[in-house]
């Protein structure tokens, strides 16, 4: 009964060619234009092509993760979510569909960047690739939630700048465009962002095989804080208290 909804939700996401194209292509273009000239540099203690690969993968995946939220806002402004409110569709199914759609777009964004990285000489063993993918997918959870929250809170044309701005700020401070904040108070601050740990997934896989406890704590705290907020805005938006 709910499988059809999930299937069509994913279908709709993949039919949204422009959003999908930009989400997949933009990080790739940035990656090649910057990393190809810096193949032998190092950043944050690891080869730059690897560092920037995870940076751009995180950037693309963050966009992929929040974009179902943007789609939700559009559905809301078209009145479609209201129409859904008078069907037996459960909030749970709706959420599962959105989260799945987010991850299904994020995954090719990651894989494309990994292929690009490999083409610029990034070499990791299979376990490391898998670990990195796993960490990136876990670290995306707060962004999937942020997308849903924005989709319920922000109206119509304010959504594009809101989503874009959010992702760019998190990407910038998280170090996706480069490790600009290497010391002092700024470093302490950026380490509190989930995007920092997304970007660090490559380094973690290369050196430790995992995030340090600090990384897990930050991602877990953001997720734990955003879940009730997402539930709250959902209830407020739908009058479904």
């Amino acid at each position: 009964m709910s499988a059809t909804h999930v299937r069509y939700e994913i279908l709709r996401t993949f039919r949204n060619r422009v959003t999908l194209g930009v989400t997949l292509a933009l990080p790739l273009v940035l990656y090649y234009s910057i990393a190809s000239g810096n193949r032998h540099a190092t950043s944050s203690g690891i080869p730059f092509p690897l560092y920037f690969m995870t940076g751009m993968a995180a950037y693309g995946a963050m966009f992929a993760a929040v974009s179902p939220g943007a789609h939700l806002a559009l559905d809301r402004s078209r009145g479609w979510t209201r129409q859904l409110r008078i069907t037996p569709l459960r909030a749970r199914t709706e959420t599962v569909a959105k989260v799945l759609a987010a991850y299904l777009v994020a995954l090719p964004a990651l894989v494309l960047l990994f292929l690009a990285g490999a083409s610029l000489g990034v070499r990791l063993d299979a376990a490391q690739w898998l670990e990195m993918t796993g960490l990136l997918l876990v670290g995306l959870a707060p962004f999937v939630l942020m997308g849903q929250i924005l989709g319920h809170v922000v109206a119509g044309d304010a959504l594009v700048p809101a989503v874009g701005g959010l992702v760019i700020l998190f990407a910038l401070f998280g170090g996706a465009y480069g490790a600009f904040f290497n010391s002092g108070a700024m470093l302490t601050f950026v380490k509190l962002l989930p995007s920092f740990w997304l970007v660090q997934a490559g380094k973690a896989a290369l050196l430790l095989g995992d995030w340090p406890a600090e990384g897990w704590t930050v991602v877990a705290c953001w997720t734990a804080a955003l879940v009730p907020l997402a539930v709250l805005v959902y209830q407020h938006d739908t009058g479904n208290v």
Binding site: Y8, R78, Q83, T87, P88, L89, N240
Partner: protein, 311 residues
Amino acid sequence: MAVVNPQDAGIRATGLTKSYGSVRAVRGIDLEIAPGETVALLGPNGAGKTTTIDMLLGLTHPDAGTVAIFGASPGSAVRSGWVGGMLQTGSPPDHLRVRELVSLMASYYPHPRRVEDVLRITGVSDLAERWTTKLSGGQAQRVRFATALVANPDLLVLDEPTAGVDVEGRHEFWEVMRGVAAEGKTIVFATHYLEEADAFADRIVLIARGSIVADGSVTEIKAKAGSRTVRATLPGVDLASLAALPGVVGAERHGDAVVLSCTDADAALACLFAKFPEVRDVEASGGSLEEAFLELTAEEDSTRPAEGDKS
């Protein structure tokens, strides 16, 4: 959740009240609808029809009052798939084709109709492969009807379902709805087409300024409005003396003819013959639903247009 047989209870709304800021959209609506009944909500723009419907569907929380749908709360009736509807506003989601949208809607409900059948009887088979965002206004409305119909719920709530639909489409629509009503489904619809309410509804609920001003069969509504009309040829008569006849609330002259609006046509006719033996071509008719609508929904403080001599 308690299992209630949809046949046991109809729809019961008591004391429904809803304000938006200083706008009192609905001011105490009581409504009881039996299972299988077809009820039309009529009323001028802004009367509170949509607000009432949204409260019946659980989309809007009333400030006061309660709603029971087949004995359950609107929320649990909706979750059980007993309720389906067409809202007044809203467009279908993008990136879906018409057939996909109808199938999607069918997938939500426990006993949907067959998608192909619904596409055919709503006249959108030819549009089945079109994107839902690339339809004309009337086509989109037909598709919206298809999505409501495919759900096959026990209660169908339609907010101005034929707005923007061409004449042929409206005929087809009501043809289909007649079949739905014959299946014993409960139907509540709002409309501005009085002839639709007249022809199709078992019962009319007339809403004005957030309150029910009349509730009954078409005949009862017309009687309540008292808008029976008497026409007669009566040259040169003083309109004021006609208006003063018992049972007459208004008199107008059209050339040699006079038209009397009556609350009690029998009394009016008796006195008319007694006082004006020269009267000819007397013709009494029930007023139209439109006249009844205008009279019953008129602002209380405005003066009746037919009152006294206006010529």
